[in-house]
């Protein structure tokens, strides 16, 4: 290509020379004239190349090398810009990595978008995940849009052989579960349909973690026996490590083998159901069919299924839970920080573009087009942006795992949060986008001003960019205000929620699940004796003040609600109010330190054979008996329809759902029933879920291990698990708010820092340009104080405008937070009254130094330079 161009031009030149010689010019004169006529060959060649339009790649390289050179000349500027961008883009990339892992990546199962989870829905209770076992079979056999349906529920037990006694978290699963999910087992096989029946030989599939821990990952494990709750199971398979059914499980057993009475109960909703769609069926189609089946069931079994509709959701939604809005909220907040960083760098670049005007003017004179200059500026900003982005990726790599581990509770799919190509692509995209953002203003501005600047002096140039710089400051301040006020809202929320009365004394109380020895679980009498023994031993233990049993502990996962009514006539099912029912021993009141309002709590006299009594809380008393004294009155509980219980006392309400969530929860009435009054058939089931609560004189944590050993029981196989102090549980119920406050606090701090740096930079630059004017003023009699006031006043004006704009944004943000975070209230005046002055003070402080420097200008030397 180049050769041809060279040849063509040479031909032309030679022709022209020949012609001139033929006309009579001397050879060298002819050469000279011919060359003059053609013009500079390089110029011609370049124009030809431009006309062909293939130059852009070479141009890009040239621009790139040039950009690197200029940035190396100003390392300080480059460093500041790159660091600022790295902070902004790094934080944003970390958030995106989390979002990518949790929300965007499909689940680890093959064709995971075909997997659905089913939920029931009633008017009264809303959406629920629970199905009954007969219901599951109905859906499995009748649904045509679902290729296969499987079920699972929680199970578990104490393993005694091989190895030490330990409580295992397990799942009861239907035989088709592994097939539905499509995950191959690590070893062995899944359950066969004939093993999923009552009376079949007990078999189990081990969880991957348990296999590694207890069996050393040995392939010989298949065929061995494991004894759980006294029953031997033959191990037939090992589950894959990534299988998650609401968390990891240690052991899987066939659901169909369970002989519990609730398996036949159509009204017992305790099973999770999931399924796989037929290959060409959409979720909507499946949803329609399921609603039809639900209606059929409702007419067939009105007592249990009336009004119960069916919803199908993608499985990923169930796994992710309610963390989605929080993640997007955080991404939004971190984007604001990135935006501030971009604005900072934009103003830096603009200031530099103006100071480089001579250099740019020369390039224009040498023939660069305006488009070329814009491209050059954008290339330079891209270099900055990509460097910042690369550093940001490094930050992400270092910071992502600490971030995930700090997440309150556990982040769903935390194991999927990793840097992959999508994250890198995102980081690249963000870098380029922000380069564009902050590079555009100077790129467009500077060349346009060039001609004017070549004629006029520097002042006209600065004057036009001053408005842009002020605009930058306003934007930065506004964004900082939004983040600061959001942090303030969260802070106040946390303060308010922390001061809420939990309803009981959280200090120095332990709670732990107790797994009875499998030997006693099946006999109600033995179980009761075991519990008595446990209570005795614990009571006598040094450091323990009082001990009680409870099946449901406040602020911990787990609840049991039961319908109740206070009149002899049972109200229709959707009008029956619900209450949280706790089955406790009499000492519960003193262990938890709940205030007694009226009457008495349960006591030793309340046993089997005596009248069944209950104690209710304030809320229930208010709802059912508004005003009148409930003590002595009857209360009917669902499941005991014919015989009412007698209310013997009223206690204070306990914030069972946690400090943050209790006020908005649906079920707030509470009932306490005595453990000793439980009928025999219920004892084994309840015994498997009972917990012990212990009030100690000394620090509870010192008591845990000794108590654990003490309570091993005669067979050495009674175990404690899920041990927590009530203090921890109460604190944990505010974990999310606290975490968000931390993050928003960091974001707000970053934003404030960046905004102040921006203000400082802009003001320094502008006052430098105004030195002649200031010198003139001083020569005419202005004092240093006047000058300072002048500069500060200008700065103050911009900042106030920024704050004004920011307040609108902050109010909107406050409303958003109210939606997304439990317990938050909107931004009110007091929050603003605290946050705004902080911003104002910081901004004015940032303005102080440039103002002082301006006031120290020596008027004479400054004027001389002009």
């Amino acid at each position: 290509m180049e050769e041809q161009l060279e040849k063509e031009l040479r031909f032309h030149l030679d022709q022209h020379v020949n012609e001139l010689i033929a006309r009579g010019d001397a050879p060298d004169l002819a050469q000279r004239n011919a060359r003059l006529a053609l013009g500079g060959p390089e110029q011609v060649k370049e124009n030809c190349r431009d006309a062909r339009g293939t130059r852009w790649l070479e141009d890009l390289f040239q621009d790139f090398r040039y950009a690197l050179r200029t940035l190396r000349q100003r390392p300080g500027f480059a460093a500041v810009a790159i660091l600022t961008l790295a902070l902004g883009s790094g934080a944003t990339t970390i958030m995106f990595t989390v979002i990518n892992g949790v929300l965007l990546k499909p689940l680890a199962y093959p064709e995971a978008d075909q997997l659905v989870t089913l939920h029931g829905k009633t008017e009264k209770y809303g959406e629920q995940w629970g199905f009954s076992y007969p219901e599951f079979h109905d859906y499995q056999s009748t649904s045509r849009t679902l290729r296969s349906v499987a079920a699972w529920t929680y199970g578990g037990g104490t393993v005694t052989k091989p190895g030490e006694a330990e409580y295992l978290f397990g799942r009861h699963i239907s035989s088709g579960l592994f097939a539905v999910l499509g995950v191959p087992l690590v070893a062995g096989r899944a359950f066969l349909p004939q093993e999923d029946q009552p009376g079949a030989a007990p078999v189990a599939v081990l969880g991957y973690g348990l296999w590694q821990r207890r069996f050393g990952g040995s392939p010989e494990t298949i065929g061995q026996q494991i004894v759980v709750d006294g029953k031997p199971y033959t191990i037939v398979g090992i589950a894959p490590a990534e299988l998650r059914l609401d968390g990891e499980a240690d052991i899987y057993t066939p659901l169909g083998q369970s002989t519990e009475p609730r398996m036949q109960n159509r009204g017992a909703f305790f099973i999770h159901v999931l399924g796989r769609l037929q290959p060409n069926v959409t979720l909507a189609q499946a949803q329609t069919e399921l609603s039809v089946i639900a209606r059929q069931l409702a007419t067939q079994y009105p007592e249990d299924n009336q009004g119960r509709d069916m919803l199908a959701h993608p499985l990923s939604q169930e796994v992710v839970g309610d963390v989605r809005p929080t993640l997007w909220l955080l991404l939004g907040a971190v984007s604001l920080v990135l935006l501030i960083a971009c604005v900072n760098v934009a103003s830096l670049l603009l200031a530099r573009a103006v100071s480089r005007r001579r250099e740019l003017a020369m390039r224009v004179a040498l023939g660069a087009s305006r488009g070329r200059l814009v491209r050059q500026c954008l290339t330079e900003s891209s270099v900055l942006g990509i460097s910042g982005g690369a550093l940001g990726i490094l930050l992400t790599f270092v910071g992502i795992h600490p971030f995930v581990s700090l997440w309150p509770g556990s982040l769903p799919r935390a194991e999927d949060v990793q840097l992959d190509w999508r994250v890198l692509l995102f980081a690249l995209g963000v870098s380029l986008l922000s380069s564009f953002l902050f590079g555009l203003a100077p790129a467009l501005r500077a060349p346009r001003e060039l001609e004017r600047s070549l004629r006029g002096g520097a002042r006209s140039l600065v004057g036009n960019t001053r408005r842009l710089h002020s605009g930058f400051v306003v934007a930065e301040v506004a964004l900082a205000v939004v983040l600061l006020v959001s942090a303030g809202i969260l802070g106040r929320t946390l303060l308010r929620l922390s001061s809420l009365d939990p309803g009981f004394n959280t200090q120095k109380v332990l709670s732990a699940h107790v797994a009875l020895s499998p030997a006693v679980l099946h006999s109600p009498a033995k179980a009761r004796a075991a519990w008595e023994d446990i209570l005795d031993r614990a009571r006598r233990f040094p450091g323990v003040q009082s001990v009680a049993l409870a099946d449901v502990v406040p602020m911990r996962v787990g609840e049991a609600s039961v319908g109740y009514w206070a009149t002899p006539v049972q109200p229709p099912p959707d009008h029956t109010p619900l209450a949280l029912t706790s089955i406790v021993t009499p000492d519960y009141l003193s262990v938890m330190g709940i205030a007694l309002r009226r009457g008495r709590f349960l006591n030793e006299q309340d046993r089997i054979g005596h009248e069944i009594v209950v104690v209710i809380d304030d809320n229930l008393a208010q709802h059912a008996f508004a005003g009148s004294d409930p003590v002595g009155k009857p209360l009917w509980l669902q499941g005991m329809a014919s015989n009412p219980t007698k209310i013997v006392g009223v206690v204070a309400h306990v914030r069972h759902w946690g400090l943050a969530g209790d006020d908005q929860s649906r079920v707030r009435d509470q009932i306490y029933v005595s453990f000793c009054q439980l009928p025999d058939p219920l004892v084994p089931f309840l015994s498997s879920v009972m917990s012990i609560t212990v009030r100690t004189n000394i620090s509870p944590l010192n008591v845990v291990e000794p108590l654990r050993r003490e309570l091993r029981g005669p067979g050495g196989d009674q175990t404690l698990y899920d041990v927590h102090t009530m203090d921890d549980l109460a604190r944990a119920s505010l974990d999310r708010q606290r975490f968000l406050l931390w993050l928003f606090g960091i974001f707000a701090g970053l934003a404030l820092l960046l905004a102040c740096i921006g203000i400082y930079g802009v003001l320094t630059y502008l006052t430098n340009q105004r030195v002649p004017e200031i010198a003139l003023r001083m020569a005419l009699g202005a004092s240093t104080g006047n000058v300072m006031r002048l500069v500060l006043g200008q700065s103050f004006g911009t900042i106030v405008v920024g704050i004004g704009a920011g307040i609108f944004g902050a109010v909107a943000a406050g409303r958003l937070l109210q939606h997304l975070v439990y317990g938050t209230r909107h931004a009110d005046l007091s929050t603003l009254a605290i946050m705004i002055p902080i911003l104002l003070a910081a901004a004015l402080f940032a303005s102080l130094i440039p103002a002082r420097r301006a006031s120290q200008v020596d008027p004479i030397s400054a004027l001389r330079q002009e």
Partner: protein, 115 residues
């Protein structure tokens, strides 16, 4: 005495080149010569603009180029008109003619009407 040079209005250079090439395949130097000859010295194309224009037209597929031998035995790049170029030429020539007629009418009007 050389007649005063007239600056070419923008965009007309392309049109003129197309016309010259329409008469037969020709190399760049010959185009410049032809333009000067036919216009009796009025149109003198700055050679620095000629070649970029040629390349531009080639890029737009209005001209096609081959390397051929001239009478003197040297190799030169000869341009010829493509079908697309032919169409472009007639369109542009027509609108140019319309413009000239319009301007002539207006100028005639300023003169006093009779033309």
């Amino acid at each position: 005495m050389a007649p005063p040079k007239t600056d070419l209005p923008q965009g007309t250079l392309d049109l003129l080149i197309l016309k010259v090439v329409a008469l037969g395949p020709v190399h760049g130097y010959a185009i410049a010569q032809r333009l000067e000859q036919v216009s009796r010295g009025v149109v003198q194309v700055p050679e620095g603009s000629l070649y970029p224009a040629l390349h531009r037209l080639e890029n737009r597929n209005l001209l096609a180029a081959d390397w051929k031998e001239t009478e003197t035995g040297r190799e030169a790049k000869f341009y010829r008109l493509t079908g697309k170029g032919r169409k472009q030429l007639s369109t542009e020539a027509a609108s140019w003619q319309r413009l000239i007629d319009a301007i002539a009418l207006i100028l005639g009007m300023a003169d006093g009407g009779a033309r």
